[in-house]
């Protein structure tokens, strides 16, 4: 069954008496459960869906809209100002540059959901990558072992941080600030080299980072993703219909799928443009395809989002972030949840550190310090994750990471002269502040 009024009962029995004043205008378009049972009200037409979406935005649930609008505005501005900004090679560069920050931000979302902060993620991530570099270069271990070792290093550090926060009760700001300082020292000890760095001559990590899918594989991944998404949505809708619950109209699902195909298709198309010179192409040398880093991010997005939205664990993370006391009374093990988010964050930081090492071709002391971490926090917040806890999504990190990468790439070309770096820092700081302001204002609008 499909289309509006999917349960065969038009919305004639919406129990609206005494309801919120805003809901009644849409009653005609919304289906409710028969027999006076109140369940979810879901808009039953495309128009009603748009109305309800606008209502959400007005009530302060801005979600990822600022990030998407910001990305588009920045692309237009830089595209007009610089002739080479919207070239495929530059867009590929932006996509690749965004990866380390995005990966770190994806882990930070979990910490931010509890209203906590992890200031040490940048340094811990790079220390974990240095640990991996030592395993590979000095001990000759294979890359799967190295990657697992780095991630485990991060997870163990996260366990320590989480334990200090949850069991001892030290504020996360202090715990992770201490770790931020201390792990800069640990990083030096791990690297233990006069040149303050370890070159990774083995190309595996480099290739894992800079590798590209073949053009065909890029399209296959896109189509497979959209198909799986559609399948999951249809299975979910069928489950809802079995319980006689209102479902989303098929037109809305169609619109979503179309949007995924259009934007995903545009992305794959641009990434597939061959950047090799024409003489290289005649020789069979190509530079094209979706970057591997984008594929890893997509995979981790699916895994982490699944954990956060479809499992009991994820629900409990939101609950602890929303009201710790309520979560405790509901029997949720608050301390375990609080510890676990630091493990996830530091583990993702380690993966981010490896990506950075792949990008730079090695590790050196000082990697991951400076504003690495703050940029990742900015990415999550720009994407729509709240600094106050309780609200956020993993995909926010990606949206915010892309906005930041566009900004950094565009600004660094636009600003020239001696003070370019200074202005770049000032602008990045201002953008983080702007995102936090949007977060605070939208929070105020909702209460």
């Amino acid at each position: 069954m499909s289309g509006s009024g999917s349960d065969g009962m038009p919305g004639d029995n919406t129990p609206a008496e005494g309801g919120t004043p805003t809901g009644d205008a849409l009653a005609d378009h919304e289906a409710a459960h028969p027999a006076g049972i109140v369940t979810a009200r879901i808009p039953q037409s495309l128009r009603a869906t748009m109305h309800s979406y606008v209502r959400h935005l007005r009530s302060g649930e801005t979600g990822s809209v600022p990030a998407v609008v910001g990305a588009i505005v920045l692309m237009v501005i830089f595209g007009v100002a610089q002739s080479n900004f919207l070239t495929s090679s530059n867009l590929v560069a932006i996509t690749e540059q965004a990866a380390p920050t995005t990966l770190m931000a994806m882990g930070l979302v979990f910490v931010l959901l509890l209203g906590e902060i992890d200031l040490s993620a940048g340094v811990v991530g790079s220390t974990a990558a240095a640990f991996g570099a030592v395993l590979s270069v000095k001990h000759g271990l294979s890359w799967p072992v190295v990657i697992l070792g780095s991630a485990a290093f991060g997870a163990v550090v996260g366990l320590l941080l989480g334990w200090l926060r949850a069991r001892i009760g030290i504020p996360s700001f202090v715990v992770t600030l201490s770790a931020f300082i201390a792990f800069q020292g640990v990083q030096i000890l791990v690297i233990n080299s006069k040149s303050n760095g370890i070159q990774i001559s083995d190309q595996t990590l480099h290739n894992l980072y800079f590798g590209r899918l073949t053009p065909i594989a890029g399209w296959i991944v896109l189509v497979a993703c959209v198909a799986v998404y559609a399948l999951v949505k249809l299975i979910q809708a069928a489950a809802r219909r079995r319980q006689k619950l209102a479902t989303e109209p098929v037109s809305v699902l169609g619109l979503r799928l179309a949007a995924m195909l259009v934007f995903g298709g545009l992305f794959v198309y641009v990434m597939n443009i061959d950047q090799a010179a024409s003489w290289q192409q005649r020789e069979g040398i190509h530079q094209r395809g979706v970057p591997w880093s984008s594929v890893y991010i997509l995979g981790l997005l699916v895994v982490l989002s699944f954990g956060l939205t479809k499992t009991r664990y994820g629900r409990h993370v939101f609950a602890v972030g929303g009201n710790e006391e309520a979560a405790r009374r509901a029997g949720i093990r608050v301390l375990t949840i609080r510890t676990s988010v630091f493990v996830i964050c530091s583990g993702m930081a380690a993966i981010s550190g490896l990506a950075l090492a792949g990008q730079l071709g090695g590790v050196s002391t000082g990697d991951g310090s400076g504003n690495t971490l703050l940029l990742a926090v900015a990415a999550a917040v720009i994407g729509g994750t709240s600094l106050m806890g309780g609200r956020g999504r993993v995909v926010d990190a990606i949206l915010g990471g892309v906005v930041l990468a566009i900004l950094q790439n565009g600004i660094s070309d636009l600003l020239q002269g001696n003070n370019a770096a200074a202005y770049q820092l000032i602008i990045e700081g201002a953008v983080l502040l702007l995102a936090a302001a949007v977060d605070s204002l939208s929070r105020r609008a909702r209460t």
Partner: protein, 263 residues
């Protein structure tokens, strides 16, 4: 509702509880019956909250008998209490603003799809809708509303309806109408009545004598850590209850010797 209607679901005998040198409960007797609303009243410091926390397992009792459905039980923590079927709605409600009504009602007890171990949202949504319908709740328009968008009365409704979801036998409500307006108070009192009509023993803590007289079947009055009297609501008037609350006695009712020790 049940054939052993006269047997109290919850029966306390001579409950004592002290915090260091302070005796808060000095041998309290109390009972709550199936299908009845039992009001628990008393002045500030009389021991209402302590008694409720002893019933709910937050505090362990120092002495006395705790009988549940006629059997002596030891309640060592909130989990023991909820395992028996005791649900408490605290005054501060403890709802997560960032979650919707369904998510709040199932918090900590989410249904899972057995095959995938993922959240069974349709099942939870349907059950939440049925629980609200069984209590004739018509004040929420969608169970997928965020709790942050609800009014005080709606929040109270959600918190109370949560207790109807589970196989609860005793529901304790701590000042459910304290912060509500007239219309919302009436709605919540209706809800209290319906919880009892569904066969639960409802314990209502309130400072509002009108609410107590309107909705309860019996009234238990605590006075300085002792049970002054537990009487049928129809047998007393407002003046007598106020006397019991303030002095511990009213005519032949209540503690006849306020300085005598209770053995």
């Amino acid at each position: 509702m049940s054939d052993d209607h006269d047997l109290p679901v919850l029966r306390l005998r001579g409950i004592t509880k002290s915090f260091g040198p302070v005796d808060v409960l000095k041998g309290v007797d109390f009972e709550a019956r199936r299908g009845h609303v039992t009001a628990l009243v008393g002045d500030n410091g009389a021991g209402k909250s302590t008694l409720v926390k002893c019933i709910g397992g937050t505090y362990s009792i120092d002495g006395g008998e705790y009988l549940f459905e006629g059997n002596p039980v030891t309640v060592k923590g909130p989990r023991d209490a909820s395992a028996l079927g005791i649900e408490i709605v605290y005054q501060d409600l403890a709802l997560c603003d960032n979650l919707d009504i369904v998510q709040n009602m199932f918090l900590g007890r989410e249904s899972l799809i057995s095959r995938t171990r993922t959240l069974d949202e349709p099942d939870m949504e349907s059950q939440a809708g049925q629980a609200l319908a069984s209590l004739s709740v018509r004040t929420v328009s969608s169970v997928r509303q965020k709790v942050s968008s609800l009014s005080g009365g709606q929040r109270q409704t959600v918190a109370i309806a949560k207790t109807a979801l589970w196989n609860s036998k005793v529901v304790i409500l701590d000042e459910p109408t304290a912060a509500l307006g007239v219309a919302q108070t009436a709605q919540v009192l209706d809800l209290v009545r319906r919880l009892a009509e569904q066969g639960r023993a409802v314990i209502l803590i309130s400072h509002n004598m009108l609410d107590v007289l309107q909705v309860s079947d019996s009234i238990a009055t605590l006075y300085l850590g002792r049970m002054a009297a537990q009487v049928k609501t129809t047998d007393v008037n407002q003046t007598q209850i106020v006397e019991l609350i303030t002095t511990g006695r009213s005519g032949s009712l209540g503690l006849q010797s306020t300085n005598g020790a209770v053995s």
